[in-house]
Each structure stands twice: as structure tokens, then as C-alpha cells.
């Protein structure tokens, strides 16, 4: 378990003080996959680094497994770090060491014997699914393979926490999926607590169970991923989600439209039922679907539908009422 208690980090550069993390209080439960999202400069990377003390805090406290880590030094700090693996956007493998040597360093430095090291590295490479790359140098690997080596290195000493600093931001879409799948497997099979910081909301949606949204060093929203994405509370989160949904009704269509344009959000169960056609049949209203999608967050469907409802204003009113009863949210975008 990781706890931030009023954690603050500020940097002093000459006369200016930058507050990178401001008064953050969060609890990351053991065994979860936790996402921290936000734009660049939001302080998420700084916050992540306080967990293994790569970044000292300037205020508040950070607890790992119930123990405050802010004052740790020497061998006790190294013991903490040994139990916290970390992976990075640019993989950070030693370029003059083979895959085997990159991982083996972690073991040998903690006193593993030659034979045990051999076995452990073989086991790790099999786990991350690149056993054949054992004696390659990093320059011969693809981005996804490098990240797999980095993951194996981070887990070598049986870490129970894995910190991921933009783990997929340098990878293409397909490789991203396979690396995320691997992270999920690590969480599920080894019970490792995974903390991911990213600016890609899709990453959070696909594997995290909880998420914190950061803006300007503060956590503006925190909660279950489905809740945060289906009904964001803070203005910033709403903006962030809107930007990734990336949907605007083209001007040309708007000028020809009559009636209402509604944005209907379905959550959970109602996302798969034929709600709209039922209501249309009942009321006799005509509708025209402009845009729609259903995505699965944590395995729960979230549907968003943009529809144009035609008919008299009373009829449209009835349709709106009925939709409000049966769906999660109805927003009137245009009313011509």
C-alpha cells in the first residue's frame, strides 16, 4: 500500500520556487493497477518519483506498506528500492550490456550466485516472453522488446510495487497493447501493485482500476476509473476526456438540422439495451444517429450517442423525459 499524506514537492531555482506537487493525499491499495493522468508539467512524474525517493519531498509524508519513507537513508533506502521496480518511457537499458547482463546486474549486486542468476534471468525472460533475446544488445531490439527487458529487470528482485513512468508513450499502438497486457499479467499473477503515470487516457481506461487526475501539482479528481470517466466531476477532467473523445458535429450538418441534438450517455447495463429504438417506437418520434460509440472501461460498457430527434416540441420533450429515465445522462446540445 502506498499513501501520500499532504505530500508536497517544490524546487528552488535561484529566486523562483516551483511547486511541482501540492498537498497531495492519496491511498493506493495493495494489488491494484493505479493510474495517474494529467498534462505535461502536471507533477505526476514528480509524484511517482517520491515513492522510491528518487525525488525527496519538501512537505508532508509518503508511506509505503505503512512505513514512512521520507527519512530513509543508506541500506534501508536501498532495501525499499529493491522492493519497488521502475520502468521508464525510454526504457533506460545499459546499451553496452546484453539483455542478460542488464537483468543479471540486479541479481548479482544483491549477492545471487552465478547459477541462481542464470536460472532467474531465464525464468524472467520467459515470463516477459522474449527468451530468445537473451544475448542481444538493446540496440538490436524493438521498443516493445526493450520495455519487456526493462520490466524483467524491474521485477528481478521480486518487487511488490512497479512504478511505470509513461511506459507506453514511446511505443506504437499495437506494442502498447501488448505491453499493457503484460502489466496486467504481472498484476494478476504476481500480485504486484502497479502505478502508471501517463498522458494517454486510453492506457488508464484499458488497465487501471483507479485513477487520479492531476493538474498544476494538485489531484483534482480521484476514484474508480469507470466513475471518473463516465461522470467526471472536475472541469479539468471533463476537458481532458472531451479532448480524447474528439467529437464535434460538423457545421454543415448543424445548419441543415431541425429538432434536438442530444448527447446520451449510457452506463453499465443500459449501454447494451435497445433503449432508443424502444422509446422511438413508443412515442412515434423519428431519430437520426449522428455519432456513437461504446467503450469498455474495466470491462463495463460506457456508451455515448449523439442523436438528432425530430418531431413537435411536445414530442421531443416526451422523448427527452423518457431517455432521462432509462439512460444515465442526457445533454441537450442544440435545440433548433
Amino acid at each position: 500500500m502506498i499513501e501520500f499524506r499532504n505530500t508536497s514537492v517544490s524546487f528552488r531555482q535561484k529566486k523562483n520556487t516551483t511547486e511541482a506537487v501540492r498537498d497531495v493525499s492519496l491511498t493506493i491499495e495493495k494489488g491494484t493497477i493505479y493510474g495517474i493522468v494529467g498534462g505535461s508539467g502536471a507533477g505526476k512524474s514528480t509524484l511517482l518519483r517520491t515513492i522510491n525517493r528518487l525525488q525527496p519531498v519538501t512537505g508532508g509524508d509518503v508511506l509505503v506498506n505503512g512505513e514512512s519513507i521520507i527519512g530513509l537513508k543508506g541500506s534501508r533506502l536501498r532495501e525499499l528500492r529493491k522492493n519497488i521496480g521502475m520502468i521508464f518511457q525510454h526504457f533506460n537499458l545499459a546499451s553496452n550490456k546484453t539483455v542478460f547482463q542488464n537483468i543479471a546486474f540486479m541479481l548479482e549486486t544483491f549477492g545471487w550466485s552465478r547459477a541462481d542468476t542464470e536460472n532467474r534471468v531465464t525464468e524472467l525472460l520467459r515470463f516477459v516472453n522474449i527468451p530468445e533475446k537473451r544475448d542481444e544488445y538493446p540496440s538490436a531490439l524493438s521498443g516493445g522488446q526493450k520495455q519487456r527487458v526493462a520490466i524483467a529487470r524491474a521485477l528481478a528482485n521480486n518487487a511488490d510495487i512497479l512504478l511505470c513512468d509513461e511506459p507506453t508513450s514511446a511505443l506504437d499502438a499495437e506494442t502498447t497493447l501488448s505491453v499493457l497486457e503484460l502489466l496486467r499479467k504481472i498484476n494478476r499473477e504476481l500480485g504486484v501493485t502497479v502505478v502508471i503515470i501517463t498522458h494517454e487516457l486510453d492506457v488508464v481506461k484499458s488497465i487501471c482500476s483507479r485513477v487520479a487526475v492531476m493538474e498544476n501539482g494538485r489531484v483534482v479528481e480521484e476514484g474508480d476509473v469507470y466513475d471518473v470517466f463516465s461522470s467526471p466531476k472536475s472541469e479539468f477532467t471533463r476537458l481532458l476526456i472531451k479532448r480524447t473523445q474528439n467529437f464535434e458535429i460538423p457545421e454543415g450538418i448543424l445548419s441543415e438540422i431541425s429538432g434536438d441534438v442530444l448527447k446520451i450517455t449510457y452506463r453499465g447495463e443500459s449501454a447494451v439495451g435497445p433503449v432508443l429504438s424502444d422509446i422511438a417506437r413508443e412515442t412515434g418520434a423519428d431519430y437520426n444517429i449522428l455519432h456513437g460509440k461504446i467503450e469498455y472501461i474495466n470491462g463495463i460498457p460506457l456508451g455515448i450517442l449523439y442523436v438528432n430527434i425530430l418531431g413537435s416540441s411536445e414530442l421531443r420533450e416526451t422523448v427527452r423525459e423518457k431517455l432521462r429515465e432509462k439512460t444515465s445522462e442526457v445533454e441537450v446540445l442544440y435545440n433548433v
Partner: protein
Amino acid sequence: MFENIPKLVDNTLRALAQTGYMVVISLAVSIVLGGLLGLLIYLTSEELFLRNRVINNIMNVAVNIIRSIPFLILMIFLLPLSKLIVGTKIGPDAVIVPLSICNTAFFARLAEASFSEVDRGVIEAFVASGAPKISVITKILFPEAFPSFVKNITVTALSVLGYSAMAGLVGGGGLGDLAYRYGYQQYKTDVLLVCIILLIVLVQLIQYTGDGIVSRINKKR
């Protein structure tokens, strides 16, 4: 020109041996001391290791002072020190002292650059794993900096060779001395020519060897 070949060959060989002697000893001293100094400058500037502004500044200033004195003047200035260390103020032995000091400062800068060039993220990744700093330094930093380090040894070897030619001015011997005394003062163009050719060959050889080693050991692309 070329009327006394046996004597020319004899002189040239002796000068070559003296140059070799000065270069090898001075280069070895410079690599060890300069490498250490460069490492310390790097370590005291890096937060992940032993950041210490005061010590870092002192070493930087010391290196800058040595680097700001032209070699010829440094050599004359340091000859009393040579007398103290090697017991003589003339000959190749005497020149080795200023040659080593000058190139120690030179190599310290280059070595520091070699260490700084190592991707900080890589160092950080290993520090974050809980490995003791000393093993990160010896097992990660050194191997990662090594190709660049070797490249800079080549550069320093050429610098030592170049400076060693100035040793002639204080009776230091070597190819530079030969070229100066016979070629310049006695107008023996053949001697001058032979010296120049030998120096060109030496430089090519050193550079070629250095580049060859670097391309063999560097796994980064």
C-alpha cells in the same frame, strides 16, 4: 640531402625511442590521474552520486588553471618540480613531469565529458533498483562510458605526442628535438622531412588503432 644515411637512421631511431618513452609514460600517468580527476568532477556534480558544489568547484578551478597555461611556459615553470621528482632538469625524464601534469588536466576534462555523456536515465534506473552506488559506478557507469573514454584516450595520446615535440627546447630529446636541432638550426631538411613523416605515421597509427578499438567495443548505435 641524404648524404649520411647511417647517422640519420641512428639519430632518428634514438629520437623515436625517446618520443615513445615520453609519450607512453606521460599518457599512462595522464589516463590514471586524469581519469580519476574526471571521475571525481563528474561524481561531485551529479545528484545521483556525490554532489558537492565546493569540492567540484575546487577541482574545476585547478583543471582550468593548468589548462590556461601554454605548455611551453608550463614546462619551463615546472622544471624545478621535475628536479624534485625525477632528479633532473634535462632530458626525456625531466619532460615527462610537465607533460603528465598538462595532459592530466586535459584528459580530466575529456573523461568528465565521457561520464556525463552516459544517459542519466540509465544511471537513474539502476540507482532506483536499490543497487549500491559503488556497483552502479563500477558496473554500469564505467562500461557505458568506456567507448567514449577510449576515444578520448586517443585524443589525449595525440595531444601528448604533439606536446612532446616541444620538449626539444629544454633538451628533452625525441623527434621534435631532432627536427628542431638538425632540421631547423643546422638546415638539414632531410632530417626535418623524416621527422615530419614519422610524426604523421605515428598520428595515423594511434588514431586508427583507437578508432578500431572503439568500433569493436561500442554496442550503442
